[in-house]
């Protein structure tokens, strides 16, 4: 069996498993003794994994050929027609390497592991979820997949799954202890100090098949391949992910849950993707010098970024999967803050929205350092009166767009008018200013401009302005059409003197109270009068 080498990807001086290694080998030895003992006592066939009957494998084969072979290949080698357009590539089942397992590092997965990964898929990779297949279908598929690697039939392949206990309470103290475990085990070497996937080894990592692989962004739990529950996180670093640099760790049991809780605390549950970003009115002056503090009161909106696979020069695996936006404005200016996570800041080389991209860009071109990171905000050049907007990819000939482009190599803003992909022209900046900084895996770009300019879009209070974004990751050789994109969303500027919600609350609350009291008084006096009357009559 191909054994995964845990330390291969780490710098030499960084032997994180020095303390853990002996116990690990000890366990391996114990296990092989156990297997030897079993083998002498029981016939080998009983020990091997469940392989199913001929008929079950045949049923699995048929489903596989219809539903899986396009990606995983008819021979199970991952070389289906869709091999090149997904990264990570579709799994080569002949390798016997599986990422999501409850079995120790280097071992084959259990049937339940495979069942789960087929049913739920692997988020943010090409591996889709299969909710429509029946349990029997999946079982038969598993029997068939096992025929691609002979280790499944070997008596040594009996999986020895770990048991994941029920998680203890999630407490702040545990999170704080977990931070220490995170540091002690040097998770930051790959995942970065703040967990944004920007550790110093991150850009050097490759997987078992020689393809570049990025450490997970721990602040986005929804992108975890094996799920984002606390038990999933426990499993991930306890058993590691075969075929990737993600190691397995021997950590004392109580510290495990502290580490889990720390990792869990880094992310919210759901991305809560937005459809609009609300600007906030600020009475003070707006200037770049204020930096991010300017946006302290502005609510963030997270928009999904996906690959540009529509115009020639396509990007199938964009380096960035979301961009967060905040906006403020005052009587004369508007400011936007764009933040997104990027493994490294690429400041060398050139970038531009119109740079040419060959029709078939080689998968791993030797272009390191040739293209810098960049971002662009797109607005219609003229505020649309009805529903008609410019085409969402750089506009069209009848409806142009303005692109506020941040060249993060030269650290300057540029302004383009777009009349469609391949039809961009640089224009005057109309006072557009920009500041950019990169800190621990996060780019932050601030744009400031006058709300009203002589030519181009003016931003009026109480309006919804269509807005879209493009992000280029230089590390991924992104430039021109090869980029991450969003569809049209809205930037909303509320009226300048927005009535306070507290006033509305007080008004309606008081009104209800008055009505109530009047009612009670009326009822009580009427009742008293009636009572008096009836007493008088008596």
């Amino acid at each position: 069996m191909k054994q995964f080498q845990r330390d291969r990807f780490l710098p030499v001086e960084n032997d994180l498993s020095a303390g853990a290694a002996p116990s690990c080998t000890a366990r391996k030895i114990r296990r092989s003794w156990f297997i030897w003992l079993l083998m002498t006592l029981v016939p080998a066939t009983l020990l091997a994994q469940q392989l199913g009957t001929e008929a079950q494998r045949e049923k699995g084969r048929q489903i596989y050929m219809k539903r899986c072979a396009q990606c995983h290949g008819e021979k199970g080698d991952g070389r289906g027609p869709a091999h090149d357009v997904f990264l990570p590539h579709p799994r080569d089942f002949t390798s016997g390497l599986f990422k999501i397992r409850t079995t120790p590092s280097g071992e084959l997965p259990t049937d339940e592991d495979l069942h789960r990964v087929i049913r739920k898929g692997m988020p943010y990779t090409g591996m889709p979820a299969w909710p429509s297949l029946s349990d029997d279908d999946i079982t038969n598929l598993i029997y068939f997949i096992k025929t691609f690697n002979e280790d499944f039939a070997s008596p040594y392949a009996q999986p020895t799954p770990i048991k994941i206990p029920e998680p203890p309470a999630f407490t702040q103290e545990s999170v704080e202890r977990g931070r220490k475990v995170y540091e002690a085990n040097r998770c930051y070497d790959c995942h970065g100090n703040q967990g944004r996937g920007d550790g110093k080894s991150a850009p050097t990592l490759t997987d078992e098949w020689g393809d570049p692989i990025r450490p997970a962004d721990l602040t986005k739990r929804w992108t975890f391949r094996g799920g984002g529950t606390r038990k999933d996180i426990y499993r991930t670093f306890t058993t590691g992910m075969n075929g990737t640099p993600m190691p397995s760790y021997e950590i004392p049991e109580n510290e495990r849950w502290d580490l889990v809780n720390y990792v869990y605390s880094l992310s919210r549950d759901d991305p809560n993707y937005a459809t609009m970003v609300s600007a906030v009115y600020v009475p003070d002056s707006i200037s770049l010098a204020a930096g991010r503090d300017l946006f302290a009161g502005a609510p963030p909106a997270l928009f999904p970024v996906v690959g540009q696979v529509i115009e020639p020069g396509r990007e199938f695996y964009p380096g960035v999967n979301a961009i967060e936006v905040r906006a403020v404005y005052n009587a004369s200016k508007i400011a936007l803050l764009l933040t997104w996570h990027d493994m490294v800041a690429d400041r060398a080389g050139s970038c531009g929205p119109g740079l040419p991209v060959p029709r078939f860009d080689p998968q791993h071109p030797d272009t390191a350092g040739r293209f810098c990171d960049a971002v662009a905000v797109q607005f219609p050049s003229e505020m649309p009166s009805g529903q008609v907007k410019p085409y969402f990819l750089f506009g069209d000939s009848r409806h142009p767009v303005d692109l506020w482009f941040a060249d993060l190599g030269k650290n300057t803003p540029r302004l383009f008018e777009g009349k469609g992909s391949g039809n961009l022209s640089e224009t005057d900046k109309y006072g557009l200013e920009m500041a950019a900084s990169y800190n621990e895996g996060e780019w932050a770009v601030i744009f400031v401009r006058d709300r009203q300019v002589s030519k181009g879009l003016s931003f009026q209070p109480n309006s919804f302005v269509p807005i879209a974004f493009s992000v280029w990751d230089g590390f991924n050789h992104e430039r021109g059409n090869k980029r991450g994109i969003t569809s049209w969303y809205y930037l909303y500027l509320p009226p300048m003197n927005q009535p306070s919600p507290v006033a509305a609350m007080a008004k309606y609350g008081a009104l209800t109270l008055v009505v109530e009291l009047v009612l009670i008084v009326v009822v009580r006096t009427r009742y008293r009068e009636e009572a008096l009357e009836s007493r008088g009559q008596a």
């Binding site: 396009q70 869709a82 609300s278 999904p304 410019p390 085409y391 009535p499 507290v502 309606y508 109530e516």
Partner: protein
């Protein structure tokens, strides 16, 4: 309709029947049950505006029912008067006096601090196709054009399978990111687009369209749509930039083959 919700509601209402509930409580319970039914009991869910309309009608008829007979009315009124005047109820009354304005105030606060919703625009999903398109300089009349390889299905099944197989390769190298592996519109990038990529497994897309219609949609993509279909927002690429005429007919064969649907025949138009 969801049988489980209906069953539960029926049981609750039947149970109340035997409890001999006062009318004052009976009316709100019915009102609530109707609301629950409208919101949770119907599949696919009704739009909000329809629910509001129905609830308006139901409120009016329940009120009418409640007030037809003066006995129930005075019984209700008596209950209210007792609640307001009787010493025993002073504490609950005080609680109501405080809680009601607080609740109203809270809702008002929530509404006032929420930004308004962005404008919503409708779009025609299946606009009428043009009569003629120009594909790489060649004119194609859409009312006459038909899939040239469809006839092979009967005349040369092996050849037909080859075309389907080619279509499959084209699909999984070009369309899968958006339309998904199961052709259900749930591809890897689908969450980034609005409108969402078409779901071919749904009976309201390719199952009711002609192959020449699909040819137009695939060749010209989002930008080829008329204005009522929001061409500026559709992420559907114009595949004439990447694929040949044969490629497109092949991928159409694959769409029908994989989903098991049949294209709508030309005759059925007349």
């Amino acid at each position: 309709m969801k049988p489980l919700v209906v069953l539960i509601l029926a049981l609750v209402l039947l149970g109340l029947r035997f409890l001999r509930l006062s009318r004052v409580l009976w009316v709100p319970v019915w009102w609530l049950a109707s609301y629950v039914f409208l919101v949770y009991g119907i599949e696919p869910p009704l739009p909000r505006s329809i629910i509001l309309m129905f609830m308006g009608i139901i409120t009016l008829s329940l009120l009418a029912y409640f007030s037809v007979d003066s006995q129930t009315l005075s019984a209700a009124w008596g209950a209210i008067v007792r609640f307001v005047t009787d010493r025993r109820y002073t504490i609950p009354l005080a609680m109501v006096v405080v809680a009601l304005p607080a609740a109203v105030g809270w809702v008002a606060y929530r509404n006032a601090s929420k930004a308004p919703n962005p404008p919503l625009f409708g779009r025609t999903i299946h606009p009428p196709p043009p009569i003629e398109i120009t594909f790489k300089g060649k004119k194609i009349n859409l009312t006459e054009a038909d899939n040239p390889f469809r006839a092979l299905e009967k005349s040369d099944p092996d050849k037909f399978r080859q075309h389907v197989a080619r279509g499959r390769v084209i699909y999984f190298q070009n369309c899968v990111f958006c339309h998904g592996d199961n052709l259900n519109g749930e591809g890897l990038f689908a969450h980034g687009f609005d409108p969402l990529p078409a779901n071919f497994a749904d009976p309201t897309t390719i199952a009711m369209l002609q192959e020449s219609y699909l040819f137009w949609r695939i060749a010209k993509g989002g930008p080829g749509l008329p204005e009522e279909s929001a061409p500026w927002a559709s992420a559907m690429p114009a595949w004439e930039k990447f694929l040949s005429e044969e490629d497109i007919w092949d991928v159409i064969l694959f769409l029908y083959d994989y989903t098991g649907y049949r294209p709508r025949a030309k005759e059925s138009l007349e």
